[in-house]
Symmetry: D2
Subunit: 333 residues, 4 copies
């Protein structure tokens, strides 16, 4: 961290600042120039509140040089994290293939999709019970009933499951869910993140629509600083000016996140593009640049899905996709 | 709403679609061209799920022409909504001036600021008890204790108060709060919005960092469709590529929202810019383009604010700002 | 400028770097910590190519602390620049009101508009002869003929004129034009900027659709470093995810640019919003936050304008706007 | 194209509009509802100026349903376009691998890189002579001298070359250049595009930093409508709020552009990310999602490149990348 002081900083204030920093075990490199004075801070600056410094009269600007996250930082965890979900592994070379419908509509629907995607190679089932929808008039999911169906199908097909939570109050219902998903709109629901940090259950943390990679890692840090280290990061498209696709899938996030952090990184090409024809090419691209897994929407009757239909694959298309992925995986980054 | 059909749509599917729409009291204008067929839908299409239509085999594209919100729509509510908050009014020509510190730090601090801003002309007090912070290591607010201070100062100074809620579970603590603020990161916390729709208390709804105006209005619709019509919209800056300011204050949102909706619209220049020097010019600009109010950060010791200090005004600067606003108000749009 | 070195930098390379910097009259503050070494550079670093430094093996990161522009920098030019255009002044308290049609369509049209806007208080006439249009099939302007009409009307009405150049080869035609406009799409047409830097004629430089304020100032620096100091900056909306308005008018750019630079800053609310109803509120807002001028589209028959009609004002609406601006100007920031 | 009329449109104006459209061979589907009237337009609407319609008193809104480009539209050109560049083909299954330094620095440098990349499998050489740089103080390229070196090396190594043009006036120097590159900042330099449309030489058209895919295709249309059909599209990253990478590489643009157009689409991972470590994973991802080629920066001494060094690969890294690409190509989308 580098602090640029204003011209002629008030002496006693400067001394106070230096003492305060030293009391936090931070080494200070004082460097006085003709016009400006710079303080170089060395040590664990992840605990320093940058806004506090900026608020001081004598400070003109502050620049971080090391990242403000520690638990999620690869620098302190050089080895890839491998998360074990009921025997299914992700990270460190283990590829996680999550598939299933956007919304759970009925026991029959989910069972059919689950059996089909498992056969095609999926090792985790997804299915939405609580659905975050922009409009209060759109289908909001089967909720408790949907969750019950999901857990029934989990047992019947013997496959771990992931589903989205929308509020802390729903937590008791998630006991048998294997991975809890935090959706893009809740990436900075800090109360929820803190609560999830107190459990041992793996969390699938989706990147917010306008979240920087650093903010995504800070949200992971919220969970991890509570004691729960099992966080899977998920790139699912960001909001830009482009309107041809629903969002812009930021695939450079994959190698970049893996550079910055030891956490597994997976990709959701279905929500990112919103167009079923683009799911296959973007899934292959995600694999090629080193993603640790994918989360794909599959529907047995995409033309009648209750929500997000246009982006779903048929079970057959999913099967073909899976074969193609197996061909590329050995040569991926 | 206009539905563009694919070439040579399957007849029975088309008939089913038309029957389904007509059962919803929607008039259909069928128009067959050389290469394409168009269905024009007339009626209350706000309840039609656009994704459902897009998912049909025979549909190529769907375009909305009327807005998908009704309760928040000026077309159905031509008169400006005036909200009465313990005698303080906002909307329809009534200007709301909210001021106070970003975070509540102590009874002394809040009392001093409250008395000062009330004297300068503020008619509502703000102060954060629960603080959404990007980093788990940053100051998270005084929480319950902060709320208690706020309510004490409210009585002592006799001024209505607004403060931010971060989770449904905090609701019981907000009983005596006059206006509940939903922060930018919670604009699409739909479970929270539904809950707030069941109460009569006014809600200050901040625009999400990457929310479109339509999404903001859809979130208002979540609250209003539950029965609570007292929603105040707040523009507070959006996320763009520009880094000179913290966010980009989108002031065209003010006249645009007032065109689309009858709800009051206020502006937060402090958070949008993140720079105290920009608060005054942007506050004046907001007034000039027709904002129904402002929410301004004021701190008695900005240089030592526990959070967001760089964007706070001193009580003296706030007093000057207020005088300047009074001069511009009569000539505002 | 601060250089963060990699761990254990190679000694001879470090010595070379230091020598090279010192040869450019740059003072170096060397600061070695437990894990990292920082070089603080003090002096005129505007001439240092940041990419060159980043390319060095021993360098991990480089952060600028002072701005990379000098001619356009208020730090070196504390007084507002006042530009004199045939007796009409802009900057330093002088307000420039430019008005006229988007495209020049005929002598009759331009003459009528020019006389009308001059009467209403405009002190400069705009009119497009060369039109940058997204589609090759859209009207491209009257070109040479349009320029001729503009210069005829200039004489007839006795008002200075501004019009857009699209390519260096058109320069000879602009001799009698008072201010040359560089459009948003050409803001980084560096060959054109260099050429304009060799002339004494004032340049109206529009901000690119995705240009940062720093990039806008660097483009001004291109012109100014060639010797032409008469640059007027123009905010005209940036590209964001929001689709309710054509672009997002970034009004905080006005006080921010005036903080960073001594150049006059004007605002174009017509192109930014693309909606005639929004022109008035955004023009008033621009004035309130300190803009040195406005450029407004006015058309005698907006419903039949050959291009960009929806954003034009009628002469009558412009007259009303002008009166309203005069009321706000005395109280503006 | 669908025109939504205002309520109770004036009859004679409506008749005029209908006559005008019919005179352009456009079929009209008139559909009157309880509250609104819709005109469905069928025929070649690519020549209809949408702004002209929007400007009419009786029109409320206009929505395009077919794309406004024709020459670049796959609907009219179902087969992939294959462009032949001195025997090297791109498109329709032919993969184009362009490599070379960002800037041409000397004959020795370029010759060494050219021989090396050709040996590794590149079939076209790139090298910048005219360099668009944000700062007037940064290295601007060797210009005419650089172009001479490029053409010398082209002959010596027997490899086709591509290099960037920055202004029409430079065209005479480009006679022996095989492919002319239009940079991101010039994507909407319409005068330049028109000029290039009059030549038979292939053009490599880079997407602008904030250009939509439709705008990119409209710029291709500018060139193609002049008679030159040999346009190669290039995705090179767009500007978003994310700062971890220089730009955000929008890989969904690849399958989307290939859906919309028959033109070849290549990807520039070097400029998009600005980080050499990310070049390989993003190059592999581009290949996996169906790109017709790549343009990669290679430098024999990346640590001392005169510009954009941080994003260059060494010849050795390029060789490895090429081998990896050959492994993925057979399984790409």
């Amino acid at each position: 961290m580098v602090i640029l002081l204003k011209k002629n900083p008030e002496k006693s204030q400067l001394e106070n600042l230096i003492k305060w920093l030293e009391s936090r075990n931070i080494e200070i490199h004082y460097s006085e120039g003709r016009t400006r004075t710079i303080l170089g801070l060395v040590g664990d600056t992840s605990l320093v509140d940058i806004d506090l410094l900026l608020a001081l009269d004598i400070v003109e600007d502050v620049k971080r040089i090391t990242e403000p996250y520690k638990n999620a930082n690869r620098q302190f965890h050089p080895e890839d994290l491998v998360i074990d979900i009921q025997g299914v592994k992700v990270g460190g070379g283990h590829f996680l293939m999550i598939a299933g419908p956007c919304s759970i509509e009925s026991q029959e629907q989910l069972l059919e999709v689950a059996e089909s995607v498992k056969k095609s190679g999926a090792n985790m089932l997804r299915g939405g019970a609580f659905k975050p929808r922009t409009s209060p008039y759109a289908f909001q999911g089967l909720r408790e009933q949907g969750l019950k169906i999901l857990l029934d199908v989990k047992k019947a097909v013997d496959i771990p499951v992931v589903t989205e939570i929308m509020d802390i109050s729903q937590l008791p219902l998630f006991e048998e869910v294997d991975v809890i998903q935090v959706g893009a709109r809740n990436m900075q629901n800090f109360e929820l993140l803190k609560e999830l940090g107190r459990m041992p259950k793996p969390v699938l943390l989706k990147r917010g629509l306008s979240a920087t990679l650093q903010e995504l890692l800070m949200s992971a840090e919220y969970i991890m600083s509570g004691g729960n280290e099992n966080v899977i990061l998920c790139e699912r498209g960001i909001r830009t000016f482009e309107t041809a696709t629903r969002n812009t899938l930021d695939l450079s996030a994959v190698p970049m996140l893996k550079e910055l952090s030891h956490l597994p990184v997976i990709v959701d090409p279905s929500h990112a593009t919103g167009i079923s024809k683009l799911v296959k090419p973007m899934a292959l691209a995600a694999v090629a640049c080193g993603a640790d897994g994918l989360i794909i929407e599959v529907h047995n009757d995409p033309a009648h899905a209750l929500c997000d239909g246009p982006q779903s694959l048929t079970p057959r298309a999913f099967d073909e996709l899976n074969q193609n992925i197996q061909q590329i995986l050995p040569y991926a980054y």
